[in-house]
């Protein structure tokens, strides 16, 4: 009813002094208004109409279809825990905030607690924007969260699992296909493999590498034919990816071929005991290395071996390195009936090359015994030999042992420690923490008055990794250390640690 008045007001009463007429009660009321200028009349009429409308507002009938969420299964996390994650979610996105958020959800999952309802929209938004953390977040949203997800298209990211994989495979983008095939590999590895084969000829090299790598999930002898076939691929990267996976299949023809090539190259010479008459001196065990023939065997290319060195080393050593790296290290321990330690001890000429080959091979086969021994040996001898990417393949206990050893070694410089701690991802235990702490204190005693960049880095890394319950202990221990120039780094360290401690405490004291 205001529309006519609005029209007039828009052009102005100066230009369109028409009169709008109203009927009924409202018309009567308007009729009784004292006369005045057109402006006054319009405004007075509008005021009356507006009041008339606002006073008489009524709800409209609406048939509501009931859509009730059923009861949750988990207990709600404590109010304080909710406040903590609320603050974290509102903080600017950073590696630190992500780490803390993930830690919160891990605590929640571990203590069977759910996100409070009022936080669900924020949490689901976060999950929508942070794909890699979804698997940690989703178990804590419980029934109500899943109910909400179904209602908001923005939150329907988790539904892909139920969607038709074939459809995604045909029409999805690279990212969706990548996720779909990895999920399918977990549940139905054969079907995933045939999907990969079905479009192999059309897929780009980058995608092909990606799909071959996905076969690492649930890898088994049935995957050998496709991998063997792919060794002929045009792309070098695809060939290498296939060769790496085949190394982890000890019964494969590929491993057999590589082993045949490798055996003549390494020859174990047992120790010779010294004779009493000292005509002969005692000789320790050694591994004699024969370099591959000078003529490059073209068949090697097919098995993923690159002819020209990509780094500065002799060409035949380069071939040696690659051949060893495709032979499961278990081959050597079985063949020579030795422990990995004994094998490493016996290395002599070209020892560094063989050592690197073994490191690669152990990594490809995830051979824990070999990985552990190689890593410890590298740490003892020369940290520079350590392949940092190995750290996270190691079991946590072995990883912690390595980290402790590194931190305890007086030769370890602070910057190397920072690098190594950055590379490893596991939570530290008390022992490893104390070893790092000792290192920090030693460094402080050297030059407390100077700001130390690496120290700040180390503390930041440590703040997210040390057991949060060590907060109080560290507080006492560092109460009268000489921090001076590094005070700020210390404050930030404790700020994070106290938050982590509170978080852990919130979940453990409210455990239900």
């Amino acid at each position: 009813m205001l529309e006519e008045l609005v029209k007039q007001a828009l052009v102005g009463t100066g230009r369109a002094p028409e009169k709008v007429t109203f009927t009924g009660q409202l018309g009567q009321a308007i009729g009784s208004l004292p006369a005045g200028s057109p402006e006054t009349m319009l405004l007075q009429t509008a005021a009356l109409c507006s009041a008339y409308q606002r006073c008489g507002q009524k709800p409209t009938t609406a048939a509501l279809e009931a859509n009730l969420a059923s009861a949750d299964h988990l207990a709600e996390s404590s109010p304080r825990a909710g406040q903590i994650v609320d603050q974290l979610l509102a903080a600017p996105d950073s590696q630190i905030s992500q780490h803390l958020i993930v830690e919160w959800f891990q605590h929640a999952s571990a203590s069977n607690q759910r996100v409070p309802h009022w936080l669900l929209p924020r949490v689901l938004d976060y999950a929508a924007g942070h794909k890699r953390w979804r698997s940690v977040i989703i178990p804590t949203i419980d029934v109500r969260g899943e109910w909400l997800m179904k209602l908001n298209s923005r939150w329907q990211f988790a539904m892909t699992a139920d969607a038709d994989v074939d459809q995604i495979w045909q029409t999805g983008n690279q990212d969706q296909r990548r996720t779909a095939i990895r999920q399918l590999r977990e549940t139905d590895s054969t079907r995933a493999r045939s999907l990969i084969e079905s479009t192999w000829d059309q897929d780009a090299a980058e995608e092909r590498v990606d799909f071959i790598e996905s076969l690492a999930i649930g890898l088994g002898p049935t995957d050998e034919p496709i991998l063997e076939k792919v060794l002929d691929d045009k792309s070098k990267r695809v060939r290498l990816a296939a060769a790496e996976l085949l190394t982890a299949l000890p019964q494969s023809a590929f491993v057999r071929r590589m082993t045949e090539r490798a055996i003549p190259l390494l020859n174990f010479v047992p120790p010779v005991a010294g004779q009493i008459l000292k005509l002969k001196r005692a000789k320790p065990a050694t591994i004699d290395v024969t370099l591959p023939p000078e003529q490059f065997d073209k068949a090697l290319v097919k098995d993923g071996i690159v002819e020209k060195p990509t780094e500065n080393m002799g060409i035949r050593q380069w071939w040696l390195l690659q051949i060893i790296s495709f032979v499961p290290p278990l081959t050597w321990t079985m063949r020579w009936n030795l422990t990995p330690e004994q094998c490493i001890e016996a290395l002599g000429e070209f020892g560094d090359v063989v050592f690197r080959g073994w490191q690669l091979a152990a990594k490809r086969c995830s051979d824990q015994a070999w990985l552990r021994t190689l890593t410890l040996a590298a740490v003892k001898e020369n940290i520079e030999k350590l392949d940092l990417s190995v750290l996270n393949i190691l079991h946590r206990t072995d990883q912690l042992e390595v980290l402790t050893l590194i931190a305890e070694s007086p030769r370890t410089e602070l910057d190397a420690l920072v690098r190594i701690l950055d590379a490893s991802k596991c939570e530290l235990d008390r022992r490893a923490t104390l070893a790092v702490i000792d290192k920090i204190e030693y460094q402080l005693s050297l030059k407390a008055a100077a700001y130390q960049y690496h120290l700040a880095q180390l503390l930041q890394n440590l703040a997210l990794r040390v057991p949060p319950q060590m907060h109080d202990e560290l507080t006492t221990r560092w109460a009268d250390q000489k921090w001076e120039a590094n005070r700020k780094a210390l404050d930030q360290f404790f700020e994070l640690l106290v938050l982590r401690r509170d978080m852990k405490r919130e979940f453990s004291t409210h455990e239900r």
Binding site: L2, E3, L5, V6, A9, L10, V11, G12, T13, G14, R15, P38, E39, T40, L42, L43, Q44, A46, A47, S50, A51, Q53, R54, C55, G56, Q57, K58, P59, T60, T61, A62, A63, L64, A66, L68, A69, R80, Q87, A90, H117, W118, P121, R122, L124, D125, R144, W147, L148, L151, N152, R154, W155, H471, D472, T475, A479, F494, E495, V498, D502
Partner: protein, 433 residues
């Protein structure tokens, strides 16, 4: 943590919730105290009186409560503060508090000082005169606007409205100034601005007419008009009247920044009188806002209204606050409309009133949200999409109690009561988009 004046303080308080930062801490049944090493040489003395959540800290921060007080409270709630004997400085403070409380009590019991009614009346009359001059110019401004047409309003920018708003401030009519600024915001609000703009302009115009004829209006309505314009009666005078006794529920609280002034609106609802009330308090800059009324609590007491038709009120006396377990609100949207209509009849300038609704279900069509009551009647919500999803998450499809601000067309959800727990609905934007 809800006591924190802003998120930065909340974060800083969290940072101080480590025993490491504290030189000493202690507590007993009535209070918590501690000495916190800040940037100064001397540690700050921080103390909290538990019964009334009163804070004191020797730090120079103008935030209230400051981060030290918040940190101390967090430590205390984490059971890290050991019971010990009060140091002298805490005793002093508590004693001075008790003293002040006693004086206040005595003052309250004293018969109110006979006001110098004559002088006060004169002062006010002078002010009303000045307001009238200003308002007269506003009337001309409004009519000019209509004569030349309002179509160009959005293109003229806020400045076009700032100037007359400032004139109203000069004329000591802050209420009118605020309405003009709102008019500016409506003009800038994008598609569909025209009708609300005309409504608001008409209301302003109506106000000018009322001021013009204020002598001819019944006294009570005259007072209402002055209150709307921003010339309310003195708080003392209002509190001198008979109050409305009820169990009052604190439904919601909103803080708005007007220039450098923070304006806090606390919305109350009388559980038997079914009368909405709004308590206004102010704070300059980062100064403390009144914290005596906490949303989600209720009290028995008397509330004095600034006029019979007004919703603006002041609390005359109150019992200790109790936590609410539900919002015994209006049983239907229809009833809510009736309450609002009645208020509007008495006070046509009323912008919003907050009422509690019992057992309503949130629904949405696209990004438009609705509340539906038990009678299967619905009203449109005025909330962000994130606000809608928050309601949805809380309700899970089942009926919940919601406190809404009514403006005669849409409902603005402010708080919900679910499973006996109070939840504020004024969320940060950007969720669920």
């Amino acid at each position: 943590m809800q006591l924190a004046p802003d998120p930065a303080s909340a974060k800083a308080g969290q940072g101080l919730s480590s025993i490491r930062k504290w030189v000493s801490v202690g507590c007993d049944a009535g209070a918590v105290w501690g000495e916190c090493q800040g940037s100064g040489a001397k540690p700050y003395q921080v103390q909290v009186e538990l019964a009334e959540s009163a804070f004191k800290c020797s730090c120079p921060s103008r935030k209230f409560p400051c981060k030290h007080s918040l940190g101390l409270m967090l430590l205390w709630t984490a059971n890290e503060v050991k019971v010990s004997t009060r140091p002298a400085w805490v005793d002093e403070w508590l004693a001075s508090r008790a003293d002040r409380a006693k004086k206040k009590q005595e003052k309250a019991e004293e018969p109110p000082k006979p006001l110098d009614a004559e002088a006060q009346g004169k002062r006010r009359a002078k002010r009303v005169d000045r307001v009238r001059e200003g308002i007269a110019s506003l009337r001309i401004w409004a009519e000019d606007l209509i004569r030349t047409g309002i179509a160009s309003a959005p293109s003229q920018g806020y400045g076009h409205f700032d100037e007359p708003a400032r004139r109203m401030i000069d004329a000591q009519a802050p209420g009118a100034a605020r309405m003009i600024r709102q008019l500016g915001s409506i003009a800038m609000s994008g598609a569909g601005w025209q009708e609300p703009f005309l409504r608001q302009l008409a209301v302003l115009h109506l106000l000018t007419s009322a001021v013009d004829q204020i002598e001819n209006l019944p006294k009570q309505i005259g007072e209402d008009v002055l209150t709307v314009i921003g010339v309310p009666q003195g708080q003392d005078e209002v509190l001198g009247r008979a109050g409305v006794a009820d169990r009052w529920h604190v439904l919601a609280q909103e803080v708005e920044l007007e220039d450098r002034l923070r304006v806090q609106r606390t919305w109350l609802f009388g559980s038997t009188t079914r009368r909405p009330a709004m308590v206004l308090t102010f704070a300059h800059g980062t100064g403390p806002l009144d914290a005596s009324l906490q949303p989600g609590t209720g009290f028995d007491g008397e509330v004095c209204f600034f006029g019979d038709n007004q919703i603006r009120a002041a609390v005359k006396n109150k019992s200790t606050a109790v936590l609410l377990e539900g919002l015994p609100g209006l049983e239907s949207l229809d009833a809510a409309c009736a309450v609002f209509g009645r208020l509007l009849t008495g006070l046509p300038w009323l912008e919003e009133a907050v009422v509690p609704l019992r057992a309503v279900v949130p629904t949405h069509i696209g990004e438009q949200w609705y509340l539906t009551d038990a009678r299967q009647e619905a009203m449109t919500l005025n909330c962000s999409n994130s606000g809608g999803w928050l309601l949805m998450a809380l309700s899970g499809g089942t009926p919940i109690d919601v406190a809404v601000a009514m403006d005669g067309s849409r409902l603005r959800p402010l708080a919900a009561m679910v499973g006996g727990r109070y939840a504020t609905l004024t969320v940060r934007a950007d969720v669920g988009g």
